[in-house]
Symmetry: C2
Subunit: 252 residues, 2 copies
DNA sequence: CTTGACCCTGACGCAACGGTAGGCGGCAGC
DNA sequence: GCTGCCGCCTACCGTTGCGTCAGGGTCAAG
């Protein structure tokens, strides 16, 4: 089957200009032309375009894509295999970034100042300015972004203060429960642990039970978070940790 | 504390030139200068740089980053919240791409020709050319890529044929077991299911039991894969599916 | 046979830096 | 106090991967 530029562009999710460009630089030249000079792409061209798109998404420069695609010693499956590896690597990378953001959020909730080293840890020992850049050409106007913007836009200083207030209120009530001598895995402590989770969910992000126990462990493992809670009441970090775990187990 | 460009660059994992650029366009101007004209960054500047880096990694153009960072109605936590959302969105996106690659791999293993629509499904209904591009500036020379390249480089047409041969051999033996009347959750069928998993692992990617059962389900859910197996022996798709599931359960 | 959608080839423009040249600043060691 | 050497400064040109006209042919439908 023969395809015109426009149809290929639409199917592959690129612009016609992009295909022109790939043709210009010889990365993807259509296998033929119509009598009138129209580009005609066949199935093999589309297969090649698929590979190009994946490598592009993975951040490879066009020139390098050309050399790896034109390597005669590489069979088709090798590309898929490599792309699979690179993709999973990228996912791990993004998950690290998510963890770093969650860390920064908790620090922000507790007014803990991060050192610059901590701030850039996730960048520093990995790579400088990584992938990105192009996403925005579409993300900027995309629904996903708009929705995210809408959900987040309304958050001003005022809300921030309310957040702090709710947080403080929760802290007071939690200390009361601790002082009452109730067990950390008892119903009242667990209820407050659940409330803590929902507080994070409301103000920051969907905090699943899994993430929540992750945070709990961070509270006892990282001295700064421990210090934050210990300053409110000695033993609070461990007590909260236990309450969160108990709550997560009982809800699961 | 006051930082020089060089130290900031190193900590944040960017080049000095980049910081100069951010200064030029007013995205991140150091809060002060030394008597000699040296840029001096303070902690607030670094905090801002952290946000910039995340938004950049998420693909936002610098100009837009400037507007969202300078929005006075947005509190600091809102940025983290938004970045968290965008990051998790990106992870989902990459996971879709991984699934698409795994799909393409299986199709390739079985010599199933994909239609262009299928080829670009993962791009088409999402966004055109997405993020990427910059990663490579470092990925290209990075260890991660080099290693991936090394692992994959040796795969030539010859290996490809060996792969096919192994696959065919496995198919023959599997059919024998089926014809022998052995149950799909019996030891011999399970052993061949396990062999199937390792075959995928050796030639393509680390195929966990979870992924493997995912493939198994695909074999019965997607008619083309079903057709592939049914052509070898009627009932083979379902039989293989059961054997894979039984194997996964027994090994877990 | 006209009209609107689609195609062509230039050619210029732009973002986000990379790289380098040419020159000053700071401080360690002699 | 002088000499290196490293780090910083500004200025300017180069590059990638397209976007965006401009000016003009093509093709299927009505």
């Amino acid at each position: 089957m023969a395809w015109t530029v426009g149809r290929v562009a639409k199917a592959a999710g690129v612009t016609v200009r992009t295909l022109h460009h790939y043709d210009e630089i010889g990365l993807l030249s259509p296998s033929g032309r119509s009598p009138a000079g129209y580009r005609r792409y066949d199935d093999a061209d589309l297969e090649r375009l698929q590979l190009i798109r994946y490598y592009r998404e993975l951040g490879f420069p066009l020139e390098e894509i050309a050399t790896i695609l034109d390597d005669p010693d590489t069979d088709p499956a090798a590309h898929l295999r490599r792309q699979h590896e690179l993709l999973t690597g990228r996912i791990t990378r993004l998950q690290e970034m998510v963890a770093a953001i969650e860390f920064a959020m908790e620090a922000s909730r507790m007014d803990i100042r991060l050192t610059p080293e901590e701030r850039f840890e996730v960048f520093g020992d990995f790579d400088p300015d990584a992938h990105a850049e192009e996403a925005q050409r579409r993300w900027g106007g995309s629904e996903a972004y708009r929705e995210s913007a809408r959900r987040v836009a309304g958050y001003g200083k005022e809300d921030w203060l309310r957040n702090k207030a709710e947080n403080a209120d929760w802290g007071r009530r939690f200390v009361e429960v601790m002082d009452s001598g109730a067990p950390a895995d008892g119903p009242t402590a667990m209820a407050l642990a659940e409330e803590h989770r929902q507080l994070v969910s409301r103000w920051f992000y969907e905090c699943t039970y899994e993430i929540h126990t992750g945070l709990a462990d961070m509270y006892v493992a990282d001295e700064r978070f421990t210090a934050y809670y210990e300053a409110i009441r000695p033993g609070m970090a461990a007590y909260l940790n236990e309450a969160i775990h108990a709550n997560a187990i009982s809800r699961a």
